[in-house]
Symmetry: C2
């Protein structure tokens, strides 16, 4: 019996454990320090009441003979797929067929599992810095990865360069970790590349709900030609605070064909074989978030985070610190002042302002010299953190 030896090649991520260790040490040495964590990648606002009520109503249904639901369709109930189709129509003027929408327990699962339908000999392209899941899931399968540097020169929005070759291209916009977001014109270049090179774009739109700039598409299908080259992953995690409730969705257009095979059909086969659908009460809660009332309620939570982002970007503007994101994104990717390295700035911020960020270098070597901050803390903590930063670094 042989194990999958590719697992030996996955690099251990020490980023978050190293952060935790440094914070712990600092707190022990400075027991009175009120540390504010501005590196958190998780939402903090409670579920909206429409979602809570839908969960409870579905729970009651499940407790009755008439309302009980057993196995549902692996790809999700039509009521939720219809609600998602309307959402796409409303937010992006994108028309989707219901069989192109696959409901899942989260974008991370689908982003990993989608690789099942692709051969292991494809060349994978990811940006650097990068959300580590794109890399690790491919290393596990032994695929070759090529890195596209994102940096100051391309505004952390790299484009295909002369001689660029890849079969599968990961794009995340608005981006984690940099907060940078592609315009429609920029995405069109990637779509044209993919269509002319027979490549497939895996488009992660997890942060689409934070987009405010009309030039920035919330779905790649707002870009002409994307239906023949792109798979889109999204979720209720950031849109509706579902990080602990778990519901995502993946779009595989019927027009996406490679080697004569509809990828929609392959993904359907993958999901019906290795997945049994999302919890019925959770699907009800997700659909409730897309109702008129639900959309208003989740909008209020998004505004809460956006207010934090505004407080942060105003601070950095005042200090003259270059940054990316903050608009169209809950992430702010700030240049470390005084040419500090990511970890030097991390230590300075922790030691002088008692504020914790995430060193950009942890997301890839092009992230060196940057720090990721997020807008997911409370108003109070965010304002206090910015006050301290101004005081220390002014």
């Amino acid at each position: 019996m042989h194990i999958n030896s590719n697992y030996q090649n996955i690099s251990e991520t020490y980023l978050f454990s190293e952060i935790a260790a440094r914070v712990k040490r600092y707190q022990e040495e400075n027991p009175d320090a009120k540390i504010i964590k501005m590196g958190i990648g998780d939402v903090t606002r409670p579920l909206c009441s429409a979602a809570v009520e839908a969960l409870k109503k579905a729970a009651d249904e499940m407790g009755t003979k008439e309302g009980f639901k057993g196995y549902g369709p692996e790809q999700g109930y039509d009521f939720l797929k219809s609600a998602l189709a309307s959402y796409y129509q409303k937010t992006s003027a994108v028309e989707l067929q219901l069989d192109e929408i696959f409901v899942s327990d989260g974008a991370k699962s689908d982003i990993g599992n989608i690789l099942d339908i692709f051969s292991n000999d494809n060349v994978i392209a990811v940006t650097d810095p990068v959300y580590p899941v794109y890399v690790d899931t491919n290393v596990m399968a032994g695929r070759k990865i090529t890195y596209i540097p994102a940096n100051k020169d391309n505004g952390f929005l790299p484009m295909p360069t002369e001689g660029f070759e890849a079969d599968i291209i990961y794009l995340c916009s608005p981006n984690n970790p940099t907060g940078a977001a592609y315009t429609k014109d920029q995405l069109k270049v990637w779509v044209d590349y993919a269509n002319s090179h027979d490549a497939v774009i895996l488009f992660d739109s997890a942060y689409e709900a934070f987009v405010t700039d009309p030039k920035v598409p919330r779905s790649i299908y707002a870009v002409e030609g994307a239906r023949t080259c792109a798979i889109e992953f999204c979720s209720f995690s950031k849109t509706a605070g579902f990080t602990g409730t778990r519901c995502g969705y993946t779009i595989v257009p019927n027009d996406l064909i490679r080697e004569g095979v509809k990828l929609q059909k392959m993904w359907l086969r993958r999901q019906t074989t290795k997945f049994n659908g999302v919890s019925y009460p959770v699907q009800c809660a997700a659909a409730a978030c897309l109702s008129k009332e639900g959309l208003e309620q989740i909008r209020a939570n998004l505004e809460y985070y956006k207010y934090n982002a505004d407080v942060m970007t105003s601070t950095f503007n005042e200090l003259g610190w270059p940054y990316y994101g903050g608009t169209n994104s809950p992430y702010i990717w700030v240049k470390c002042p005084d040419n500090m390295s990511s970890w030097e700035f991390f230590d300075a911020l922790l030691g002088k302002a008692n504020v914790v960020g995430t060193p950009g270098e942890g997301f890839g070597k092009s992230g060196e010299g940057y720090l990721r901050l997020t807008s997911f803390n409370t108003h109070g903590n965010t304002m206090e953190a910015m006050r301290r930063i101004k005081e220390v670094f002014k």
Copy 2:
């Protein structure tokens, strides 16, 4: 770009669509016929009230700032893992460490996904007849499959024969579709085989809650030596009616080492990379089913199905029809009378008694000549179906 060409080798399953088509045609031709479906593989009893209340309580928590839960541990909350450890202790006298327990959205997901940690060059052994997921998930990865015939001669409980060679062995006991269940002594032979051949047993115990015979283990870890060779998959689907609520669990013992690597560590890496944990309210509901009150309530539902199984087996005893299962299992694997083929008996049962079963041949060629019936219908329908069968076939 290349697709995974192994997908072309997955056989299309026409079993359930063919059944549906024949039933539809019969109903159209006989609009007054009251057809009773005894082939259903899904539970029908509502969620127990302990689960419903826990779901609602968790939903309320999620709607408050203090009670809100974001990302949880990918492998499940400790409160549920502790409840599962107690359940194993109580039902099987098996001691598990919490880090050996992985909570998931269902056994089907884990049974498919576990293959990520194994090399594609392993030889896979499955029984024939077989739950099709074991086959399809391996065909998708291009693995070689060897079939172990289960039949009348071995009581549908095949054992390793002279010269048998496999790296990964799927065992499902109590079995789907045959209802047959291995004794501890029989499983010990498989465990010894796996340990001496460096193989791994993937043990599907989805129907463990139906076991009543003390000689039949509910967990493979009740068998000495299993901790060094077996991974166990189970779920709340059949135990607590969670087919639509979605919660399963997989046990990877810390003692299971292959090629010098702990498989527990590999699975943890797989799950943290490609999975984000089960919905918090669902984990609360699952834990509630394992409380004293919850265990009593789910026991009542299991008794309901067992009563149906008793009605069915009494009928077949009366008719002198050989069968497997019915005890220790919700499935009854009945020999087709008069040497009919599976589909001939299916048609006869539908046409003469208006009862629908599942042709055994659909689960593999050794299933020819058998039909699978289940105990998941109502008392009323089950009794009426048996009355008709006795009338027609006596």
